[in-house]
């Protein structure tokens, strides 16, 4: 059974007001529901349908993903560092599975 593996690249620290770039990736086939197996049966859709980033609990960036996002979805985005705290990265999969990582950001 394949287990999706999330990864993030975030700076350890930032100065107040600085814009930091965050790179995220989750290893996932993003099965579109458009493909057929060797018996000609449709392989059911199973994709990561949402990605959320929280900063000290507040949603600061979010993405709805559809079938056309490539396998192993890579998303890079930028946040404004305001206070030290916790960043949560959450990937929601079809049928309710959730994958998550967190990171502590130091801001001075």
């Amino acid at each position: 059974m394949f287990t999706p593996t999330p990864r993030v690249q975030v700076p350890r620290s930032a100065t107040r007001g600085e814009v930091i770039e965050i790179k995220t990736l989750i290893e996932h086939p993003m099965e579109t529901g458009l493909r057929l197996d060797s018996n000609g049966e449709v392989i059911p859709r199973k994709i990561i349908n949402e990605f959320i980033c929280r900063y000290n609990g507040e949603v600061v960036f979010r993405t709805d993903l559809h079938e056309a996002v490539a396998a192993n979805p890579f998303i890079s985005f930028s946040l404004r560092a305001t206070t030290s705290g916790r960043l949560d990265f959450i990937w929601n999969e079809d049928f309710g599975a959730v994958y998550a990582l967190n990171h502590t950001l130091l801001v001075d």
Binding site: R62, A68, L79
Partner: protein, 156 residues
């Protein structure tokens, strides 16, 4: 020393090849960047979303004009916005009109928190205009389009 010479030669050839390919790519863009193509893109957006959008230079949709592998086409989007409470981007919807399923992704930004810039990789079934439609805080719908030619169908 000989190796260095070879490396330089390859580099020069690579640059020449890239220059030729780049020239062809630019010609393709020049053909596509007609008022008709712009009007078609606006009409496609209306067909898919039911809304009237305006092409805007504030959106910078950066994708290769030619990319062989339709499964992993690089996508970068940047929007000119200060992201203040009174002037910001709420969300950006990305559409692929010639894919079997048109919506690609929607990105949601927060004023003062996230910057209106994002990169990812997308699947394209065939050569087409990729559309990005930004909804601003005043409700304006601003669009950018860019024509991307792929060789393999990334959707099967």
């Amino acid at each position: 020393m000989a190796e260095t010479t070879v490396a330089q030669e390859v580099t020069r050839r690579t640059i020449l090849a890239a220059a030729i390919a780049g020239g062809a790519g630019l010609a393709g863009v020049a053909v596509a960047a007609t008022p008709e193509a712009d009007a078609d893109a606006v009409e496609e957006a209306r067909r898919m979303t039911g809304k009237v959008v305006t092409l805007s230079p504030r959106l910078h949709l950066l994708m290769p004009s030619h990319f062989a592998n339709g499964y992993i086409v690089p996508f970068t989007l940047r929007i000119d916005s200060k992201m203040t409470d009174t002037d910001h981007v709420r969300q950006v919807q990305v559409l692929a009109p010639r894919n079997p399923i048109n919506p690609v992704a929607t990105f949601y930004f927060v004023p003062g928190r996230s910057e209106p810039a994002v990169s990812t990789r997308i699947r394209l079934a065939e050569p087409q205009d990729v559309l990005a439609i930004a909804e601003m805080n005043d409700g304006a719908l601003l669009m950018a389009r860019t024509f991307v030619e792929v060789e393999t169908n990334g959707c099967n």
